[in-house]
Subunit: 323 residues, 2 copies
């Protein structure tokens, strides 16, 4: 017997549409294997209008209409700080479960939202917020719960990696940014990516999970000044240029830094191509654990959202069984 699981979807952009596609594709497996049958009961969109394959009756442009629709889980895939934050808080306050991919919001408010969720007994999932289809959140939070982590080093911005590996194939910086836009990785304004701001937000979220100490400083520099000549010269020396984010212990806490780095061709992050992401986790007991995969894109990110939905359903079921 499968249980219906009412889902409100806030935002129907790249990730939201990917989620709807993956949900239909995987529904038979979700019913058979996990005993759940998620029903999307409301979708908040920015602009009205017909959408392929979506029942017009579930679509709304009203945030209040969406968030006040009776549901078991709220999926926040709209991005932005203000409205998204208000809707997430509204759901958590009434003990409703939330899954979000909003890294900008989490970079500043993760602790507050986690405390609110915990107080209200609500599930809060955010695997999709960092590294798309690479399950770095669950790895740090669950799989490495028993070990002290000493440092994190990662390529966590797929757009920058796409630009830099494109330049290795001969593009100029401007051409590579344009190609990233055409592939849908880069926004019309890619400054969040190329400045290192996006990577710094992601590494901040990871650092909160990985370390018990406060973040003392966040430094970042951009990749905008890199030239074809830089890329070629680095390559001639057996290395590659990558936007690398690092979090490590310093006196009194954790330091996060993001910038263009030359890394050896044999470095585990050197083989990441295009929009791929990767993170090296170091700890005394585990040595180096490396995760690499598709860090961006509609379906990889949707797979992280769906994993959180399944985990949330499992927790609800466990509690119901106990009660």
């Amino acid at each position: 017997v499968s249980r219906a699981l009412r889902v409100v979807l806030l935002g129907c952009g790249t990730v939201g549409r990917g989620f709807l596609e993956l949900l239909e594709r995987e529904r038979p497996r979700l019913i058979r294997r996990h005993g759940i049958d998620p029903q999307v009961v409301r979708i908040l969109v920015r602009r009205p209008g017909l959408r392929d394959g979506i029942d017009p009756a579930v679509v709304t442009t009203s945030p209040l209409d969406a968030i006040d629709t009776p549901a078991d889980i709220v999926l926040e895939l709209m991005g932005g700080l203000h409205t998204a934050g208000a809707l997430i808080r509204r759901a958590l306050v009434r003990g409703q479960s939330v899954v979000t991919a909003n890294k900008a919001l989490l970079a500043t408010a993760a602790d507050e939202l986690a405390a609110l969720a915990s107080k209200k007994g609500a599930f809060l999932g955010f695997e999709a917020a960092v590294c798309g289809g690479v399950p770095i959140i669950r790895t740090l939070r669950d799989s490495l719960a028993g070990v002290s982590i000493t440092s994190l080093e990662g390529v966590v911005n797929g757009t920058c990696n796409y630009i830099l590996t494109r330049m290795e194939r001969g593009s100029s910086y401007v051409e590579a940014v344009q190609a990233a836009r055409e592939c849908g990785f880069a926004e019309a304004d890619p400054s969040m990516d190329v400045s290192g701001e996006d990577a710094a937000q992601k590494m901040t979220i990871l650092s909160r999970l990985a370390f018990d100490e406060p973040i003392r400083r966040v430094e970042r520099s951009g990749i905008e000044r890199v030239t074809r000549a830089d890329v070629a010269a680095t390559r001639a020396g057996g290395s590659v240029l990558r936007q690398v984010a690092v979090a490590q212990r310093v006196a009194g806490g954790i330091s996060v830094s993001v910038g263009l780095r030359s890394i050896s061709g044999t470095h585990p992050l050197a083989r990441l191509d295009g929009e791929e992401n990767g993170v090296i986790i170091r700890g005394e007991a585990i040595g180096e654990l490396v995760l690499t995969g598709r860090g961006a894109g509609s379906l990889p990110t949707a797979s992280a959202v769906l994993a959180d939905v399944i985990a949330c359903a499992g927790e609800r079921e466990g509690r119901k069984a106990a009660a």
Copy 2:
């Protein structure tokens, strides 16, 4: 406030001693961050005698004495099929939580033990059974719960990888096996490793988690006949020799195969050195996800055991809160 968590440890070999060491090292963090304070109330050992740093009062050579000690979690780190299986079943039948690293047992009895645990509402964790410190179990079960996996490809036996990478540095097969023994990776009789039996057991466990279809065939061949000349010739062609385990869909189910393979030097598993393990997970929605790390050894494997203990404590707490 931290909760005491009574632990019975069955077996005090490499992984058991690693667990005790890691537990003492991480105890302050476990109390502070996870609110648990695990107490090892009984340790089953094969031979009596004093052990450094272990209270003689908790040590027993009687399996019945050990398994009937009142406890919240049973850690089965003794290996073997018969006694270990009987003790695990005895614990699960009375609804007690079990964490095990016993791949041989799980390769044949995972479905039966999981069904028993589920029926009795008991937690069953086995992250430590495959790939030591590489969290492949949780990744397949939780992080990829929402995607259909098409294939798995991995280096899952650290002893074979140690032998083959040692031969790349000039050792003969016999010398490399001897070195693996001296490092504590290989047993006095390493035939389980070099024959591919161990890797086939691990890939069978992973396949049950990854796929919904039955395993139709398991094929394996050993690495015992590899020579220095083979290794050198492969290398001259830009490739390396590795013991590779593959699971993929075939007509009517899943095929598992283990054997010596020549893989390109740029293949994600080619850079694994010594006892490292790695698994490539392929799926339509995620592309390739790669995990690599320390696949064997006392502390990496103990870190997987401790992660399961923390997860188990978290589930107990969630149920208590709901009840």
